[in-house]
Amino acid sequence: MAVCIAVIAKENYPLFIRSVPTQNELKFHYTVHTSLDVVEEKISAVGKSLGDQRELYLGLLYPTEDYKVYGYVTNSKVKFVIVVDSSNTSLRDNEIRSMFRKLHNSFTDVMCNPFYNPGDPIQSKAFNGIVSGMMVQTG
């Protein structure tokens, strides 16, 4: 289960970040922000070789001592980042993928809301609920 989930706009500013409340929130912000380096690099590398035929799931972006950071980029260049505790070895790649897929579906629902203005921070309750379901339950 994730310890931090973030949605990043095409222009690389955060639309949504939630992390486990027990830990230093700022640290996760930095983790997500720095992971964008790798996301950008991966997007640009794909853009050169395959054109539009790319997979949305970027896989493990980089491992730190404590966390694993996974990335996913939609076709409109909105990025999803999921941070998982390194000690959590039970999570397989497939499960991460399905988390991203779920996140993407929910994000699509948010975008379909005519009252949501693309580029604004996401405040949807439904989206929040989906994210909560994927986060590590603490206390």
């Binding site: 222009e11 690389n12 500013y13 955060p14 922000h33 720095t34 380096d37 790798v38 690099e41 005519p114």
Partner: protein
């Protein structure tokens, strides 16, 4: 440096080289020896054998070899690895001792020298008692040796020397001191290297042989020690593959050791050493993935082995060192050609190292609070020099039991270590690691990671109280976070920066950071903002602000006194802050009401201000500056009373300004170059917030974009809202000053299209609707500039329509003065245009004038102009077609010389208006007219659209013209005008070039004289003239073919000759038999001498038919009577 306890020992980090000691060389006083030594140590490149040489005196004492134990039964090891062991084998115990001795084979005192040499060898041997170190002798000789086997004396003496010194033949070398010294030296050292390898091989065997005596219960430490030693000897032997294998075994053995708190440090230290060796060798073998995997395994195994809780910082320090040294190994490998990638580069290891150093610092702060005095009785100088074994405590060396032997000693030892840790400059270590990491991430395209690390560096400098460096770093990265709009992170950085600014008492920085923390980009809570704003007001009042709650209490008092000094300073209390690049708490947007203003209108400017802070803000002054500074005076607001200019939180304030543009700025842009807002007062501090251009800040562009997205969808429909939507306010930073709207009408009347080359008349009427006199009216008329350049050459405009203008007339008449025009008056003029080419043209009629007006009580003279544009097509007035026909009106392809023919012209009018043709004439070149024409047949003919006017001219090509050639015939000139232009209108002459004709000459020309008609049964004479036009006598055969309609008399068939230039006549009488249009009897003429001309060619000159009238009746009496 205090970090040395955790530094890896240099003998571990170096590449082990076989150690060979050279004795008997006097490198100080003996030049030959010096040269030999230099040859050994200079230029040791990679292609030389890996040996480290040392010069030692002949009687050097080598480390004593302890007696080898024969049984390990009662032996309990005191530690894993002795601290001196690696150094001993690298630098103290040689694999080979080489004795240099000057001795030639033919030395006269051979015997004495031989025994002296033997003695020297013996001394060395004694010193190496118990070691397997080899001894070799090198004889330095002055003479070049003979090839082996030839010098019998040499071989005999060599074996004698070997016997005397108890050397094998392989250990005796000869070094002739000649030109090829380096070559000999290289051969020598290769031989040394072989000896050294044998030595290390035997050492490995020796260590291996201990294994059988060990048991697993008491000798666990020895298993590790022996594996390590074998691996180290393998490295000395340069057998890195086996070394790696043994190190790996050693590594797994280390982790099999029983771990308890007392030996934890020793185990970790050794594990770290072995891990270092493994990673180093993996990189050396170019298997970086193995190195990384080993390191990961190492970290995973050791991460949790914290050991003594009171000394937890030691674990962090050790972990930090592990990461750092791996990072250095990685970096070194990259320098030697390894390629790293963005997600796997040394930066991550330095970063993690820094992270553990930060942990260490925190732990040290927690654990080392005790203010107890230094317990002097416990030795804590844990430099490896003081220790027997790596990783042991100084106060209980060699102790391997689970519990510490002396609890009190243990306690004071821990305390001493904590005391020592307190003095460690942690921040320095962290910053060094971070800056290493920054350099790496910069290299591997991780700008955000780099920024993050720089923030950490900044924070560390802040903790280290180096505020200037801290601010420099934080300032540098702040703008990255600002442009990427990560407000949460920006706020955190700003907070640290604000603390720095406070502690430094840097007024300007303090104000800047406060402003941004109060702004909308800050994620601070309302009460924090409130506190910051109050502090900001204090600074503006030139008072001392309260300390930030995060600040270190110990530094606060120093800061406070700094602030007091600062406030006491007179003078420098004015500050200008460029806020454009921040997200300040006061937002500003200026907008001209319209993108353009007429010069007779007043320019409306609105400046919107908005405060995002929790408390109201008063400002002193608002000033707008423009590209033309003369307007600045009109757009400034100054505070009248104490609260006249106050911004309420979250409310938008709008300041309206209006001013009158200068007439000389017509056609120019007026731009806002800056806006300045003054906070504070002269009594306290004045802060000038200045925006470049028309306001806005780093965040406002994106906000405007978002607002435009949303307004496009929803807000437009909701209609007027009470509060102005700040985000959707757009900045209008410039306005165009345009001329006053003219109040005159310009009307054009003309009859399009233009006929090519005519003087086309365009009449325009100017009617004034002005209330005052329009002065100095000027007309610009003609071809609108900016069209095809060729049009300009083919268009001519003039005011004089009485005659056709020449090509010198311009395409555009400019500034034709037309005088003044009183209110309500009218003015009419005509302009004539001549277009020399067809196609559409745009004509411009501009009427400009000046008028006095009044704007907001100011009298100004405005220049205005009215433009009228018209597109007119130009067409050709008529088309002329020309054809040549024979006198029989048969079309001619060729014109025969000196034979009359006809030229027919057809002029078809294409003009929609009737044309009056004034005259027409021919200008002939080669041809001549057969008739003397007096008057044009077309004179004063008026033709309507589509009508045709034709003319016919009889022409002849004079004889003597060069025949069988095409010749120009001349031109057809037509003078014409529009019928509507009246008799005074100028005539236009249009010239049509006549087509070329092909000339031919005929040898014989035949004409016939015959009446215009015949009558039945009345004969008529026909005379044929046959003319010879050649210079030769022509023979002509003439035959007349019979015809049903005629009887005839005359020569039916004749053959005759015609002299050159003369003609022959043939007379016939034709007697018509039938009435009607009858074919004449055909005259067949043929020229036997001229076969190329046939009768048909000649026949075309002859008439073919004649009209025969019926027989007339005489009006006689009988017929009348019958009637």
């Amino acid at each position: 440096m205090a970090g040395t306890q955790w530094e890896l020992p240099p003998e571990l980090c170096c590449r082990p080289l076989a150690f060979v000691a050279l004795t008997g060389l006097d490198v100080v006083f003996n030049a030959v020896h010096r040269a030999i030594w230099d040859a050994f140590c200079a230029n040791r490149r990679a292609d030389r054998v890996p040996i480290s040489f040392k010069v030692l005196p002949g009687d050097h004492e080598y480390p004593k070899c302890r007696s080898k134990r024969t049984s390990y039964e009662w032996y309990i090891p005191k530690g894993i690895l002795k601290t001196g062991w690696m150094n001993k084998h690298l630098n103290l115990v040689p694999a080979l001792v080489v004795l240099f001795y000057e001795l030639d084979w033919d030395d006269p005192q051979w015997k004495e020298k031989q025994s002296e040499c033997a003695t020297k060898v013996e001394i060395v041997r004694t010193s190496l008692q118990g070691r397997n170190t080899k001894v070799a002798v090198v004889l330095i000789q002055k003479k070049t040796p003979l090839p082996p086997g030839e010098d019998l004396v040499a071989s005999e003496r060599a074996s004698a020397l070997c016997n005397a010194c108890d050397l094998s033949g392989k250990s005796l070398f000869v070094l002739p001191h000649t030109d090829h010294l380096v070559g000999y030296i290289i051969r020598l050292e290769n031989a040394f290297y072989e000896h050294a390898q044998t030595y290390y091989y035997t050492e490995i065997r020796r260590v291996k042989s201990h294994k059988e005596f060990l048991n697993k219960t008491t000798h666990q430490l020895l298993f590790v020690r022996h594996q390590f030693k074998i691996a180290f000897f393998s490295e000395l032997k340069q057998d890195t593959q086996n070394a790696l294998k043994y190190y790996k075994t050693a590594y797994s053995l280390v982790h099999e050791l029983r771990v308890h708190e007392t030996n934890m440090l020793e185990i970790k230290t050794m594990a770290g050493f072995i891990n270092y060796k493994i990673c180093r060798l993996c990189f050396q073998h170019n298997t970086p993935l193995d190195a990384i995997a080993q390191f990961r395994k190492h970290i995973d195994l050791c991460k949790k082995k914290i050991g003594c809780a009171e000394l937890a910082f030691e674990h962090s320090a050790w972990m930090s060192k592990q990461f750092q040294s791996f990072g250095e190994l990685f970096d070194e490998a990259i320098k030697l050609g390894l390629t790293a990638i963005q997600t796997q580069n040394p930066g991550f290891y330095y970063q993690q190292g820094a992270c553990y150093s930060q942990d260490r610092k925190q732990l040290a702060q927690q654990l080392c609070q005790i203010g107890a005095s230094f317990p002097a009785q416990v030795p804590v100088e844990t430099q490896s020099g003081g220790l027997d074994f790596y990783g042991q405590r100084l106060w209980r060396q060699g102790h391997q039991s689970i519990d510490p032997p002396d609890a009190d000693k243990e306690k004071s030892g821990i305390l001493a270590l904590q005391m020592k840790e307190r003095d460690v400059p942690h921040s320095e270590l962290i910053i060094a690691l971070l800056s290493n990491a920054v350099a790496q991430f910069k290299k591997y395209k991780c700008p955000r990671m780099k920024s993050h690390l720089m923030v950490q560096m900044g924070e560390e400098y802040y903790h280290a109280k180096d505020y200037i460096k801290a601010l420099k770093l934080l300032d540098y990265v702040m703008c990255d976070y600002r442009t990427e709009r990560w407000w949460g992170l920006l706020t955190a950085i700003l907070n640290t920066a604000l603390c720095c600014a406070y502690l430094m008492a840097s007024v300007k920085d303090y104000i800047i950071y406060s402003m941004e923390l109060l702004g909308r980009a800050s994620t601070l809570k309302e009460e924090q903002k409130s506190r910051i704003q109050k502090n900001l007001f204090r600074v503006l009042m030139n008072e001392v602000p309260e300390a930030e709650p995060e600040c270190d209490p110990s530094s606060v008092s120093a800061a406070r006194s700094l602030w007091t000094d600062r406030t006491a300073l007179a003078g420098s209390n004015e500050l200008t802050i460029e806020v454009q690049d921040y997200v300040p708490f006061i937002q500003c947007k200026a907008k001209f009401q319209s993108p353009s203003f007429h010069v007779d209108q007043s320019i409306q400017l609105q400046v919107f201000l908005r405060a995002d802070c929790p408390h109201p803000v008063s400002f002193n002054k608002l000033a707008v500056s423009f590209s033309n500074q003369e307007y600045n005076q009109w757009c400034a607001a100054k505070s009248q009373g104490p609260d006249s200019l106050t911004l309420l939180p979250g409310k938008t304030k709008c300041c309206n300004f209006s001013f009158v543009a200068k007439t000389e700025d017509v056609g120019k842009k007026v731009e806002i170059t800056g806006i300045e807002l003054v906070l504070g007062s002269d009594s306290g501090r004045c802060v000038f917030l200045s925006w470049r251009g028309a306001g806005g800040d780093t965040a406002s562009a994106q906000e405007a974009l978002q607002a435009s997205r949303s307004s496009r969808r929803w807000w437009r429909g909701l209609g007027a809202r009470q509060e102005l939507d700040w985000d959707s306010l757009t900045v209008q930073h410039s306005t165009m000053i345009i001329s006053r709207i003219p109040k005159i009408s310009v009307h054009l009347s003309h009859q399009p299209p233009v006929l090519k080359n005519e003087m086309y008349c365009i009449c325009f009427t100017v009617q004034s609707q002005e209330a005052a006199v329009a002065q100095d009216i000027r007309l610009t008329a003609g071809l609108k500039p900016g069209q095809d350049a060729n049009l300009g050459l083919a268009t001519h405009v003039t005011l004089d329509g009485s005659s056709v203008c020449d090509d010198g007339a311009p395409a555009l008449l400019t500034d034709v003065p037309l005088g003044d025009l009183k209110p309500g008056e009218k003015l009419e003029r005509c302009v004539f245009v001549r277009c020399a080419s067809t196609g559409p043209r745009v004509f411009l009629f501009q009427v400009a004038y000046s008028i006095d007006t009044e704007v907001e009580g100011r009298q100004i003279v405005c220049r205005c102009h009215k433009d009228e544009m018209v597109t007119i097509e130009t067409v050709v007035p008529f088309e002329v077609s020309v054809k040549f026909v024979s006198t029989k009106f048969e079309p001619l392809e060729q014109v025969a010389v000196d034979i009359p023919f006809l030229l027919m012209t057809d002029l078809v009018s294409l003009s929609p208006w009737p044309l009056m043709l004034s005259s027409s004439s021919l200008q002939l070149l080669t041809l001549s007219s057969s008739t003397t024409q007096l008057q044009s047949q077309l004179q004063h003919v008026v033709i309507q659209t589509g009508e045709c006017a034709s003319e016919c001219f009889c022409l002849r090509c004079p004889s003597g013209t060069n025949s069988a050639n095409t010749v120009a015939t001349g031109q057809y000139l037509v003078s014409w005008r529009r019928q509507a232009s009246g008799p005074d209108g100028p005539l236009i002459q249009t010239t049509v070039s006549l087509p070329h004709v092909i000339l031919e000459s005929v040898p014989v020309y035949i004409t016939a004289d015959l009446p215009s008609f015949g009558r039945v049964r009345e004969s008529f004479p026909v005379r044929y003239h046959i003319e010879n036009r050649t210079a030769l006598v022509q023979e002509v055969e003439i035959a007349v073919e019979p015809s049903d309609a005629f009887m005839f008399s005359g020569l039916k068939q004749v053959r005759l000759r015609i002299l050159p230039g003369t003609q022959q006549q043939m007379l016939y009488n034709y007697y018509p038999l039938m009435a009607g249009y009858q074919t004449l009897p055909q005259l067949n003429v043929c020229l036997p001498r001229c076969p190329d001309s046939n009768s048909l060619a000649l026949r075309r000159f002859l008439p073919q038919h004649i009209f025969v009238k019926p027989q007339g009746r005489q009006l006689d009496d009988t017929s009348i009577a019958a009637a």
